[in-house]
Amino acid sequence: MGEHLTFIGSVTAQLVRAVPVTLLILAVSGVCATVLATGLTVLSVARSPLPRLFQRTWTFLFRGTPLILQIFMIYYGFAMVPWIRHGFLWTAFRDPVFCTCLAMTCCCSAYIAEIFRGALAAVPRGEIEAGRACGMTGFMLLRRVIAPSLIRIALPSYSNEIIMMTKSTSLASTITVLDITGVAQQVIAHSYRTLDVFCAAAALYLLINAGLSALLAALERRLDVDRAVSSISVPPVVEPLS
């Protein structure tokens, strides 16, 4: 029993050292995918058909193929292309962490763009008209009227996507990255204690996601004006006599 606990303790310590790698992949691809998705969303409502076609094709390709194949294609596939292999890009493409981030950025941006696109369509037309009617245009309208509503509508689905991304980072282990899952497999290879190690790894993912969920839920609460209002003192809703 004592030996068992010691083993789990030492495995956990090893796995925890891999947490920064997992978080790095998540942070880089999360930020990049969100930025890219914002761009794709803008393209999806463009007036001319070409940008819209580009967004639809992007979504079709990256949402329609398995992420693990995208990772393999970028990491193993691009190594076969002479001008990448022998060009300055090779410093990036030989790095498995970079390749994972690139694949996840492309894939998740397709999903997030769809979330944003749906949220944009759900922003009440009247709020936008009220903005236009008082003379707002372009960027101001987007920043002051559309974005605040869009973010509130998109946030629950967006949070879900981020949680999914956390789990997807484990695919990096298939191309030699020593993230949580990668280290877990390494430990199992010489200890053969599959269940213990995977349980410890799963516990770490649970912890990360619990933290993320709490963070995103706090953000959601903060943006919810109905709840935020209770902290400010507001007189009760009473109709004054007219």
Partner: protein, 259 residues
Amino acid sequence: MTPPSPTVLTATNIRKSFGDREVLAGVSLEAREGEVISILGGSGSGKSTFLRCLNLLEVPDEGQIAIGDVQAPLARDRHGRLVVSDGRVAARLRTQTAMVFQGFNLWPHLTVLQNVMEAPLRVHRRDRDEVLATARTLLERVGMAGFHAAYPKRLSGGQQQRVAIARALATNPKLVLFDEPTSALDPERVREVLALMRSLAEEGRTMIVVTHEMAFARDVSSRVVHLMNGRVESSGPPAHMFGPDASPAFRAFLSPAAL
């Protein structure tokens, strides 16, 4: 005799079709400073569409619009359709006006005070202290002084509409457009909003009001315009329109209300 007050709005021969349904078949309207014009008509008569053409929320298929000294930037594209040719001028035209909507359309993420301050602060870039003072005065005026920090969702329909009216007045527009401002309210709230609109009319605001409130049209407006099938069927001062010499079509339109 006093000289006629300056013209605030000139809309000439406005036409608009949705698909093959012609909603406006050439409507013209001129509004002078201080006039309160009620636009009446059955549903589908094009009255809301006409109002929305005035600030270019809808782009008309034909016609010209000028508000104050700003001419609506309408030009034909290569297909011969009328389009807004300069977004900045269109925005400048809109800054001369304000609109009060049937569905209030307050911005839900801003407080009552922020809603009122938004346009003068961001669009007109006026001085913050000045804007704040104006907003306070206006909210007091519409009976919402105690609700600065409240969010729109927390308010009743009548309260939201009164805030929306304060928001509309915050930029001191040359022309206020009301698009069925009481149609989404229950009867009790209708009264408080109409009372407020009446007081605006009395202080000399230039207003164009699309409404079903016959009493408001009769008692408050300086001119009544009856739209039917996308045309001005008849128009005139309320004394005439609600008198015995009104057009038969308008009398027929009124009669169900009289019963």
